[in-house]
Each structure stands twice: as C-alpha cells, then as structure tokens.
C-alpha cells in the first residue's frame, strides 16, 4: 500500500485549523456575497426606517444614535449568524469539519472569528452611511473600540447558540429568541459606552461599561468554547 510522506499526523496544528476555517468562510462569502449583502441591506433599511419612526431632531440625534446603531447591529447580526451556520448544516459540511482530526474548539473559534469578521465588515459600511444620512461624525476611535468589543461578545455567544438553533426544527425563529435575553449586558454596555464616547463624557463614566464588555467577552468566549463540543457532537 502506497503511503505518502508525512500525512498521518494525529491532529493538525490548532491555529492552522482556525485560520483555515476563517479563510474558507471569507473566501466563500467573497464569491457569493449572500451573507453580507443580506446583513447590509437589512441594516440600511432599519436605519432608514428609524428616520420615520423616531423624530430625529438634530439636537436629539446624538443621544439616540447609539441605541439605533446597536439595535441595527443586533438584528442584522442574527441574519449573519443564521446563514453562516446554515451553510454548514445544509450541505452536511459540519460533518465534514467534524470528521477532520481537529479539536472541536478550533471549529468554534474558526466560525466565531468568521462571524465577527462579517459583523465588523457590516459595521464599517453602516457607520459612514449613518454619518452621512444624519450628519453626525461617527469617526471616533472610542466608538470603534466599543463596536469591536460589543461585536466580539455577540459573536462569541451567537456562534454557540446558532450552532444549536440550526439543529432544531424551528431554526430561524429560534436564534433571536435564544440570543437576545442573554445578550442584554452587551447591548446595554455598548449603548452606554458608545453614547459616552460620542458625547465626549469623561473616561470615568465610560469605564464601567467597558469593563462590563470586556468581562462579558472573556467569560462567554471561555464558556462557549468549552461547551461547544456538547453542541456539535452526538
């Protein structure tokens, strides 16, 4: 029996596996652009609707902006999470990943980082558009930091929960129902911190919110990656 050199290593390097999965997700998305376009269109529609739903008088806009932005991200985010997992489930690709000699947690990190990337890409496009439409400068490094921290927490829990939701019958409806009650600290802290940066509040008022975001990110990334194998393995 022919044996090719160097093939049968028990498991491939952890980081390489994560990198491969992220690369695969980005590449596939680049080709089809299904995920990002859905998220983007949705996000822009929501922002437009807010114009009519809430009277955005110029002086009120600064206070309302963080809330509008994060509601938008939260809802657009579920679209992305759902589709990212649906791809794996529908063509049985999740099995393909599970068959490979890679750690289950590597699969988790790969998918979570991919989901995070998609959320950030959407944010990068939505923020300037919002700035233009409502004449508020959102080019604020503090704000960008909050977007990063908030999206991380969202993606960490969202990836785990979407892996569960996609294996149930009630798939699409279930994810927001599972996710939103659990993500409240992230939304609250992100909105307050964003508002703080936009209104140039002193750092000691913003710090508690940043702390909550960081704590949440750390705790839930840790829990999710430990518990992921229970969700994907039978």
């Amino acid at each position: 029996m022919e044996k090719l050199a160097g093939i049968n290593r028990p498991s491939s390097p952890y980081l390489k596996a994560i990198g491969s999965i992220v690369w695969k997700d980005l590449l596939a998305e680049l080709r089809s652009r299904e995920l990002i376009s859905a998220m983007l269109v949705f996000a822009l529609l929501v922002i437009l609707i807010f114009n009519f739903a809430i009277e955005l008088q110029p002086d009120l806009r600064i206070t309302i902006t963080p809330g509008v932005l994060w509601v938008t991200f939260a809802f657009a985010g579920t679209l992305g999470l759902n589709r990212s997992m649906a791809v794996e489930k529908d063509r049985g690709c999740l099995d393909g990943l599970l068959l490979a000699p890679v750690d289950r947690s590597a699969i988790y990190f790969g998918k979570a980082l991919g989901n995070l990337a998609f959320m950030l890409i959407v944010a990068i496009i939505v923020l300037p558009v919002y700035s233009l439409l409502y004449n508020i400068s959102l080019f604020n490094p503090g704000l960008l930091l909050v977007v990063l921290l908030g999206s991380t927490g969202y993606a960490a829990v969202g990836t785990l929960l979407s892996s569960m939701a996609v294996q149930t019958r009630t798939r699409d409806v279930l994810l927001p129902v599972l996710l939103f009650p659990v993500i409240v600290p992230v939304l609250l802290a992100a909105v307050k911190a964003s508002g703080g940066y936009l209104q140039n509040l002193p750092m000691n008022e913003i710090w508690p919110w940043l702390n909550i975001l960081i704590a949440y990110d750390v705790i839930f990334t840790a829990i999710s990656f430990m518990v992921f194998e229970f969700v994907v393995e039978e």
Partner: protein, 232 residues
C-alpha cells in the same frame, strides 16, 4: 481493521442497534445491506466517529472510539450522500481546505494527484455549485481519500446518480479499494454491490443477521441470500 463488539445505540427510549458484532480484516470490501431504518446509517456514523455508542466497544484502525477519535479520524475517509463540499469554493479550493485540516504536507502536489484520479483536473477551478451530482460525488470521494486513509466508509454513494455516473463511480470505487484499503459500504443496490464487494453483511433488527463471502456465495445468489437472511 474494524472491531465492533456488542454495540448498542439508543436514542432516548428507541434502541436502534442491539449488541452488534462486526469484524473486518484489512483489505476487505464489505457491503452492508439491510432494509430501510435497520440502522445502517446510524452504524456507519458511529464508525465514522460522528456519533457515540451507548454501550459496547468500537475499534477502527487500531484505535478506540470515542476515546481516541482524533487518531481514528486521521486514518478514516467518509463519503455520505450529502456532498460535504462548499458550493462557493472551487474543486481545488475544497480539497486544499480539507487538506489543511488534515495536516497534509506537499498539499498542492497531493491535490493535483487526487484531481487526476477522480478525473476533475479540467474543472479544478470551477465552483462546486456548478457541478452535476455525479461530479460532486467524485469530488467527495477525492476529499475522502486525500489524506490516504486506511479505512473508507461509504453511505449509499450511488444515490441520485444516473447510469453513466454510477459506472464512473464504480471504477473509482474499485481503484480506491484496490490499493489495499478497507472499505465498508452501505447500499440498496444489490446488483451494483455484487461486483464490487468481497463480503456481504446484512444488518437487520439492530444486529448483523448474516454474513457471507463472495467466494462462498457464487454468482447471482446474492438476492436469495439477502432475502433469506431477512426472513430468518
């Protein structure tokens, strides 16, 4: 190569596999037959390390499942009736992705080899969603043998393929098996399986109810053998 002893698999109150014994030597090509719902797919998923046994021992390629699943996975290739391929990636990219997950060295050379073997070299850059089912199945096989596994499992690979595609598939199957690999294939198509396999096992009511070597069976007796083993 594969040693299964008193395997039991339960889903809640449903018992699908009831103390199944199964022993396969290296190089054998076992066709696993049985009626729908007998548990063939469940059994194959357990061998593939995708599902855990409720009770009993399972050993594949010398490693125990589920404890040493990682080592088993490195030596195992699986083809199910789902393609396990990413539609938005090209044939080449799919193979490269999986190759990286399996830690294959000299990846480009190996990918080229496999593409040649499955006859998809000319379509290497085409996206998989443009492939016919037959081509996807061939690529799926390519994915399964990319890391040169000792054991290959097939779950009804002929499903949904037309006559020509089936013939092409059979040629590929013979090639895969011909290199000394151990193969287990579930199937409904007795006619196809008759020429391919060296051994026929029947899974019925949660256990292997009958087993026969091709040499012992003689030509055209497979159908009788199958019917008899189900009646018993």
């Amino acid at each position: 190569m594969i040693k299964v002893h008193k395997l039991v698999k339960r889903f809640g109150s449903k018992t699908v596999l009831r103390g199944l014994d199964f022993d396969v030597q290296a190089g054998e090509f076992v066709a696993l037959l049985g009626p729908n719902g007998a548990g063939k797919t469940t059994f194959l998923r357990i061998l593939a390390s995708l599902s855990r046994p409720t009770l009993g021992t399972v050993q594949v390629a010398g490693y125990a499942l589920p404890e040493q699943a990682g080592s088993v996975r490195a030596r195992l290739g699986v083809v199910t009736h789902m393609p396990l391929l990413y539609g938005d990636l090209s044939a080449e990219e799919n193979l490269q992705f999986y190759g990286r997950l399996y830690g294959i060295t000299e990846l480009n050379r190996r990918v080229q080899e496999v593409l040649d073997l499955i006859g998809l070299t000319l379509r290497r850059r085409d996206l998989v969603r443009t492939f016919s089912r037959g081509m996807q199945q061939r690529l799926a096989i390519g994915r399964a043998i990319l890391h040169d596994p000792e054991v290959v499992l097939f779950d009804e690979p002929h499903t949904g393929l037309d006559q020509d595609a089936c013939d092409m598939l059979d040629e590929l199957l013979r090639d895969v098996a011909g290199r000394g690999r151990t193969v287990v294939m579930t199937s409904h198509d007795l006619a196809r399986v008759e020429d391919l396999a060296t051994r026929f096992d029947v899974l019925s009511r949660g256990v292997i109810s009958a087993s026969a070597r091709r040499a012992d069976l003689g030509k055209n007796n497979l159908l009788d053998f199958y019917r008899q083993s189900l009646a018993g």
